[in-house]
Symmetry: D2
Subunit: 115 residues, 4 copies
């Protein structure tokens, strides 16, 4: 995925509509969270198993909401000057330290929520 090209396209889309003034990080984070809400709406009454076997309408909806989240995420990163590759690398290192294999094996529960 060419993130920079996508960011360029999204910036043009906004500039053409004079939307730059709306697209500050606060508002973009809100828009991203609203789309995340629409994404979970697709899955909220489905069983975990059924969420792996969507019908065509559910699948179409999931694809479009995933795209919406990604669009706002990429736009937000652009406005903040965040390097997505670097941020993901840092976070994955943190996760590896926070969830060592021997402790996390078969248990996704946060340490402070366990019995």
């Amino acid at each position: 995925m060419d993130i920079e090209a996508l960011q360029q396209k999204l910036a043009e889309f906004s500039a053409e509509r004079d939307w730059e003034r709306f697209h500050n990080p606060k508002n973009l984070a809100m828009a991203l969270a609203a789309e995340a809400g629409e994404l979970i709406e697709v899955f909220q009454w489905l069983s975990e198993a059924d969420s792996l076997a969507l019908n065509s309408a559910q699948r179409r909806a999931a694809e479009l909401e995933i795209a919406d989240v990604l669009i706002y995420l990429v736009r937000l990163a652009d406005r903040l000057g965040v390097d997505l590759d670097a941020a993901v690398a840092v976070k994955m290192q943190i996760n590896a330290e926070r969830y060592p294999v021997e402790l996390a094996k078969g248990n996704a529960t946060r340490a402070d929520r366990r019995d």
Copy 2:
């Protein structure tokens, strides 16, 4: 960004921890939305202007939450078999039709929410 390589890494991270059974689309969508909630928490009391001028602690938090959202989004797309590039292309086409420049200029409000 090499999405497939990232998906491969995330799949290995999960497999090593025996987390595959937790990582169905329903649960991943929830995890994504939870991270989106943590992302907006960074911005909720900031003015729109201040959201463009984060201090270092806020910026660090924003970067890590953006990474979390992206990680779960990429993982979710993998589990659903969604092609992110294609989904974004479809959604941008829909947006271009839904928000024609002449109508959307300077106004981000949905048509049904305008005066």
Copy 3:
């Protein structure tokens, strides 16, 4: 529940801390959504059955996040001048019309997401 008394307490809590300027509807809606994200974080890796049998740490977390959502919801309603009882009555009437028993029986899927 005495909503007005709670709104009065929350207004005093904010006034004492000079937080009124942060507590506009936009920011309060963000704070509510951030707390909703923390609430789903409690449940994201649990099975549906296990979500009915929380351990004490999970239960404590759920109670506090539910309280947080309610606090921001009541505060938001106050700032907007929304009558919660009236709003709920209107919405329940809409739901009764949208989901007639004969069509909705055993099926919570939105009409446009069915096979």
Copy 4:
């Protein structure tokens, strides 16, 4: 607000539609978060000042989304057996200790996000 009467009504609404099996805490938390997403969607492009001066369409939308969040919150509390009054009292006590007036005055930023 008569929470118990509302919970009774919501339980009847679900039972008539054979929706009890969908209404476990995991799914209800998701539904609540989805509605919180729709609520922030009302405010995402509005300035903080404009969020206090909604037009009639925005206000109607905000009222209905607030009602939706409250409905799912009350239903979730019922399914978990959470006493909302008690939970709010506990949380407000925690907040009073976490944000003492002298430290929080005019500053809503979390201690770990300050300069």
